[in-house]
Amino acid sequence: MIDHLTPPTRLVRRLVAPALASVLGFAAVHLVAACVDHESTSPEFPGVIFGAQTNDDALRTLLETLPVEDPTQAAYLTSPMTGIAQPTTLPLTFKWRVGPSSSWNGRERREGRFTARDSLAGRAPLVAPAGPTLLPHAAPHARRASTADSRFPAWLHDLAPVSVAHAHGSPINGRAYFLVVTDANGEPVYQVFTLGFENVLGESTREELALVPQPLRASVLNAVFDNDAIIPGGGPWRGPAIDVTLTIAP
């Protein structure tokens, strides 16, 4: 993912991050990744990489809203293949898309009757089509990350802009995706909030991630935003998880 318009207030973080990487350990993983991937971070969500045209207001909204299970609207990881094990020397890119049955994409539907759900009929869901149910609150991942002062020294907070840089930037309009990678214990180790459909992990990131308990488990939470607010009926929807094992090359 290439972001052209990273807000200037993020630049400080990008500059300090590499220098700090060697001493900050776990937390620095994300900052290194942020640098490599030309993305930005937020003091409120220190473990999260923000892609272009995203902001922490919208992410907060996403995490504070109860997800709805709807396989037709979930984002599916199409890369890497689940269960794969590979050395950190090989490239690793997460790619995803919303199921092809999303009725945004069903043109023929509109020639028929007024039926919102008929485009979904007859298509094989990618996960078991249980009736849509409310899932537990999504916030814990982020809450842990955002309050992880023990892992993220206060003085680093001080280095960063305190104000929420994106709050007065461009609002999100459209679907936004929150990629969450956890370790084998469910601890988030890599998180990206983006409008795009892929995320490339740099080699140093891969090396850091190989050090946490394997396998890694990745999934994407997504929602449809309108000026940073989730549109009624616009999710969030949680996608199914895949497993990846990163190995350190001998």
Partner: protein, 397 residues
């Protein structure tokens, strides 16, 4: 205001999410969905066929949506008997193939009167907070329909004083006997002016456009729906450098948008520095914007931001059709306004005292300009222009 919006919307989103869970849980089987309207818990719901995450248009309590009313409205919308001399229908100035505009700088009424402004797209018109180019009074489609029907300055459909002629005409057509009876089963006299405008408004609320390539990419989650140029154009469009999104933001690319979940509805009008006649800030008569309604000097030249959906189909641009191409429009915004060098409207619009603060100009490379235009073209929804349910039922039943 921003915080207030977010708080309110946040709460609402949660409520709606809960409601969706509850509703959808009842329909988890694989059979065909129920009929297009269902009555539940004190309200009738109509299925607009919207993609997930697209809110419904607001519907007045006294004009609930029904498929029968929509179908009647479709017939009326496309019927030239709605003009006194039977030469024009609503569709005469709102052609489906042009995203319900007419391709003219300004339109021509049934008796030859020129309208001062261009025909606006009706795509997603059901979401607008105010209707027409600049009128804070027209807030309901039912009321707006009366303007072209009965307006006299200019004459459009020319029905002023002749509402009974219209109703007699309609009542004489057996096809309408069936359609009106179906649409208004509880009315002793279904042929009324209210029946006509309510059906037309109901039809208009189904003129929905959410199937463009951009929709498939940005809302549908299809990474392959846009090419790289349009994707770059999207980033430019939503950037603080271009500022487009302030007035053309949101899912409908217009800040005059509200939906059935909107808690606080705002009416928005903007002066984009198109004119500054004689340096006085004036816009040429009679197109003075909201000023024509309110008489307030600060409203001079303020117009509603139209949706940019299907904008590649709706040339020429601006309220008076004074720009022929999207390139010209970009020139205008890049310059932060338009300097009219000579003629009766001479004056530097860039210096208009009412000009929106977001028009500070910008510079685009040739590639960037092509990217923005590629993005705007990705908003073209051929489903809208070809959808049978919106087409003329008198020629394509």
């Amino acid at each position: 205001m921003r915080d207030l919006h977010r708080d309110v919307n946040g709460r609402r989103a949660l409520t709606v999410a809960l409601a969706i869970g509850a509703l959808a849980a009842c329909g988890g089987d694989s059979t065909e969905p129920p009929p297009t309207t269902t009555t539940s818990g004190g309200g009738t719901t109509f299925d607009f066929g919207l993609p997930p995450g697209v809110p419904k248009p607001r519907v007045p309590a006294d004009n609930p949506m029904t498929p029968e009313k929509v179908e009647l409205g479709r017939h009326l919308f496309h019927d030239t008997r709605l003009s006194l001399n039977e030469t024009q229908s609503c569709a005469s100035c709102h052609l489906q193939g042009k995203a319900f505009t007419d391709g003219r700088a300004t339109s021509v009424g049934s008796t030859g009167d020129a309208t001062p402004r261009g025909s606006m797209s009706l795509a997603n018109v059901g979401y607008l907070t105010t209707l027409t180019w600049a009128n804070p009074v027209l807030v309901a489609l039912e009321d707006q329909a009366l303007v072209p029907m009965f307006g006299e300055d200019p004459v459009e459909l020319g029905l002023s004083g002749n509402e009974q002629t219209l109703l007699d005409r309609l009542a004489a057509d057996p096809r309408y006997a069936t359609l009106f009876a179906a649409a208004y089963p509880d009315e002793a006299e279904p042929f009324s002016l209210a029946s006509v405008v309510r059906a037309i408004a109901s039809f208009e609320r189904t003129i929905l456009s959410f199937s463009s390539p951009y929709d498939r990419y940005a809302y549908g989650g299809d990474p392959d729906a846009l090419d790289a140029s349009a994707k770059r154009g999207r980033d430019l469009f939503f950037s603080e450098e271009l500022e487009c999104f302030h007035c053309h933001g949101g899912f409908n690319f217009s800040d005059s948008t509200a939906h059935d979940g909107t808690a606080i509805i705002e009416t928005m009008f903007h002066n984009t520095g198109l004119y500054n006649v004689g340096g006085t800030g004036a816009y040429p008569e009679p197109n003075t914007g909201v000023f024509a309604i309110t008489g307030l000097a600060s409203d001079m030249g303020r117009f509603r931001a139209p949706t940019l959906r299907n904008v590649a189909l709706t040339a020429p641009y601006m309220h008076d059709g004074s720009m022929a191409t999207l390139d010209e429009v970009l020139d205008h915004y890049a310059a932060g306004g338009r300097n009219v060098a000579s003629g009766p409207n001479a004056g530097d619009g860039r210096l208009n005292p009412n000009k929106s603060e977001f028009l500070h100009g910008f510079a685009l490379t040739q590639t960037q300009r092509a990217d923005v235009i590629a993005f705007l073209e990705s908003l073209t929804d051929t489903d809208l222009t070809e959808r049978k349910r919106l087409s003329d039922p008198w020629t394509t039943p």
